[in-house]
């Protein structure tokens, strides 16, 4: 080994304290840069998977029909009367407990509500499919479900009324002379019998039984108007009055969840896709269900479990991590099954649209909005904006601070290395002066000092890469969990309180270390070494040998 390298090695090995301090500083700086970058990488990955929910379900746009206050409904994308439909669709379901059986009997029932997303005919999705820029569409039915079980409450009290007869009698003043004359004249004219004479109970009682049918009719006809209805008999109609009682106070347990009807034809596009299946398999058809991981955990469900929805038994064929951003559900069943269960045959309330390519997404969105004025079209970014949680916070933090932290860590490492190099040169003035006195040229002295720093940079880089890898492994092992969630609904629409739907996703953070990051980290250490070397060498170069030697006297 040439002398200069032996000298360099001797300087590094025999000034252990300084070397270790410099190496640790560089390694820590580089390790931090690698760890932060890897963490940022991990966050990016988690973000891509979680905060870009539409990409996860193979789509670019979601189309829904949202009711407008006071809207008349209808229109090209309408299914009926807008807000009125929504109110009816939601309220009719809720108030029908009495139909579940006799009060006091046990019931288990799932009520399906469309929530704030109005339904429309499934066939209308084809209208969107025919638009320019649309590559594929898939329909879905997202419903809020309320699972209730308990005893049927006594909601109404029945009270029978009616059936009574009422006899009304009145005393009427006898006919006046003039009236009698008129009656007689009338009877003569109509061929009726004369009254039997004065003193008889006037009028009608005496008339009865005389003269036969024709005489009675003529008599009735000839009576003055005021005497014709002096007696009335009526019977009240029989009816049952039902009175709504106070809200039921039975032991009804109620639990809300969300359910989605999936078009199962294409497992890559839909409100849930095969990509979200974490265990088991995707839906094929028939009475199969997918349940979200969190719902499964809450209800101890696993692949193969049975799920009873209003008497229909579904087999859980897979667990899924549902996409965030509004279209996530706890339970997914084939679309036709949900339509049948909820009485929404032929209806859907969300259409997923895949554009021809990413460049045409915006234009396609505009086209759909123009053609269907009542359609609410959301892009991936708009959906992503509805997502919150610690993952979003961490991702924002990483975006805002990650780069700055990396720079600070690298700068601190450089500064430490440079200061140590300068301090080393300061302490070695006598040594460097001696080298000059021995005949070393300035170039050789500078090269030696810079070489030492560069070697420290290389070693610091190697050590830093090790520290960075170790940090990444530790992060992977600990796997800090971040969450992302999106909430839709929860407001009040036309007097109907909508159930808030919150979909959450726990993301275990990883720190994937790429070769590029390692290379950059190593390069930074090398750069740190060079900078430190340059700083030290500059000071060494300025040393005049006589001055350097004079300092030792």
């Amino acid at each position: 080994m040439v002398f200069y390298l032996r000298y360099l090695r001797a300087e590094l090995l025999r000034r252990k304290g300084r070397t270790i301090l410099t190496l640790l500083g560089l390694a820590l700086g580089v390790g931090l840069v690698i760890a932060i970058s890897s963490l940022s990488n991990g966050l990016d990955k988690a973000q891509k998977a979680t905060l870009d929910p539409l990409a996860g379900i193979g789509t670019d746009l979601t189309v829904t029909r949202t009711a407008e206050q006071g809207g008349a409904g209808g229109g090209p994308f309408g299914g009926g009367g807008g807000s009125r439909d929504l109110v009816e669709a939601n309220s009719s379901v809720i108030t029908d407990l009495s139909k579940l059986g006799k009060p006091g009997t046990q019931f288990v029932h799932d009520f399906f509500l469309p929530g704030s997303q109005l339904t429309f005919a499934q066939s209308q999705a084809q209208g969107i499919a025919s638009l320019d820029g649309v590559a594929a569409v898939s329909s879905g039915l997202m419903l809020q479900a309320v699972h209730q079980e308990g005893k049927v409450p006594k909601i109404v009290a029945s009270i029978k009324t009616g059936g009574q007869q009422f006899d009304v009698r009145r005393t009427i003043a006898p006919p006046t002379e003039a009236e009698q004359a008129k009656i007689r004249a009338c009877l003569e004219k109509n061929g009726g019998a004369q009254p039997q004479g004065q003193g008889q109970q006037p009028g009608l009682g005496g008339g009865q039984g005389q003269g036969g049918g024709g005489g009675r009719a003529a008599f009735a006809k000839c009576l003055p108007a005021r005497m014709r209805q002096f007696r009335t008999t009526f019977t009240t109609p029989q009816q049952t009055l039902q009175q709504v009682l106070d809200p039921p106070q039975t032991n009804i347990k109620s639990e809300s969840y969300t359910i989605g009807g999936v078009q199962t034809g294409d497992p890559t596009t839909g409100i849930v896709t095969a990509a979200q299946v974490t265990r088991g398999r995707y839906l094929k058809a028939g009475r199969e269900a997918l349940v979200s991981v969190t719902y499964a955990s809450r209800h101890s469900l696993k692949v193969g479990s049975k799920l009873n929805l209003n008497g229909t038994r579904f087999t859980v064929v897979g667990l899924v991590n549902p996409p965030l951003g509004g279209q996530g559900a706890d339970v997914y069943v084939p679309l036709a099954q949900l339509q049948a269960l909820s009485g929404q045959k032929g209806l859907v309330n969300v259409v997923l649209v895949r554009a021809d390519d990413s460049a045409s997404v915006s234009a396609t969105q505009k086209r759909i909005e123009q053609k269907y004025s009542q359609a609410e079209v959301a892009s991936s970014k708009q959906v992503a904006d509805t997502i919150s949680g610690s993952l979003v916070d961490a991702a924002n933090l990483s975006r805002d601070l990650g780069f700055v932290l990396s720079i600070v860590a690298a700068a601190a490492a450089f500064l430490l290395a440079a200061l140590l190099a300068l301090s080393s040169v300061g302490k070695r003035v006598r040594e460097l002066g001696t080298l000059k006195a021995l005949g070393w040229t300035q170039r050789k002295v500078v090269r030696q000092v810079a070489g030492e720093s560069l070697a420290q940079g290389v070693l610091g880089g190697v050590l830093g890469v090790g520290v960075g890898l170790l940090a990444a492994v530790l992060i992977d092992a600990v796997g800090p969990t971040l969450s992302a969630s999106s909430t839709t609904g929860g407001g009040s629409l036309f007097g109907v309180q909508e159930v808030a739907r919150t979909t959450s996703r726990a993301v275990s953070l990883t720190a994937p270390v790429g070769f590029t990051i390692l290379l950059v980290g190593f390069g930074l250490a090398l750069l740190g070494g060079l900078l430190a070397g340059a700083a030290g060498a500059l000071r060494a170069a300025r040393l005049r040998p006589a001055d350097a030697l004079r300092t030792l006297e």
Binding site: M1, F3, Y7, R15, G439, P545, R550, L552, E553
Partner: protein, 227 residues
């Protein structure tokens, strides 16, 4: 032509606003192979004069001519080359590189000459043997006594077979016996090689060993001291 010809050499330093004339108007001629002692108390300008003669510094005025070349006319790299091949320095503080072994310290002087590594080691080991330190070759300076360190410094100074050895208080940090021993070694080896030796000292005993004694006071060279 004399080896050294100094005429009107002066060196001034600024200390604050005051001008300090460390060396003032020195005229001196030294012939090759001479053993010259420059005596004087501390601060008399001996070290500065030695640095001017060893091309470690440039005079403020006057001329230092070595081997017929005016040092003022040489660039930094030429001065470095001159220091490498023509001069050997021995310092009061020994000035060994603390992280290098005795052998490597000798090699440090030889390395810039471009010798192959093996030859470098061989010559350095031979020189250490000459000063009686063959068995201490792998020791660091901190593990050597003062006398041993100065012997390493002498071996280092002689390694390139310089034309001049410039020794600044070489016995200043040694006891009398070791000092005498060192001067013996230095004078003997230089004599064998015909090397000029210029020693700056305030030790009259050491100066006594030099055939030519000069005295300095307040930066000025006084009349030669009788041997």
């Amino acid at each position: 032509m004399s080896q050294y010809e100094l005429s009107g050499v002066g060196k001034a330093f600024m200390r604050g606003s005051a001008v300090i004339n460390a060396v003032h108007d020195v005229d001196l001629v030294v012939e090759a192979g001479e053993f010259v002692a420059i005596e004087g108390p501390s601060g008399s300008g001996k070290t500065t004069l030695l640095q001017l003669m060893g091309a470690l510094d440039r005079p403020s005025n006057g001329r230092v001519v070595f081997g017929g070349r005016d040092l003022a006319g040489l660039g930094d790299s030429e001065l470095a080359e001159l220091r490498l091949r023509s001069f050997g320095f021995v310092f009061q503080q020994f000035n060994l590189i603390p992280t290098l072994t005795a052998l490597e310290n000798v090699e440090a002087k030889l390395a810039p000459t471009g010798l192959a590594d093996a030859e470098l080691r061989e010559r350095s080991a031979a020189l250490l043997a000459e000063v009686g330190l063959a068995d201490r070759a792998t020791h660091l300076p901190s593990h050597l006594s003062g006398g041993e360190q100065q012997r390493v410094a002498i071996a280092r100074a002689l390694s390139v077979e310089p034309r001049v050895i410039l020794a600044d208080e070489p016995t200043g940090n040694l006891d009398t016996r070791t000092g005498a021993d060192i001067i013996e070694t230095l004078a003997g080896l230089a004599g064998q090689r015909g090397t000029t030796v210029i020693v700056a000292t305030h030790d009259a005993g050491l100066a006594d060993r030099a055939p030519r004694r000069l005295a300095m006071r307040d930066g000025r060279l006084l009349a030669p001291v009788a041997a």
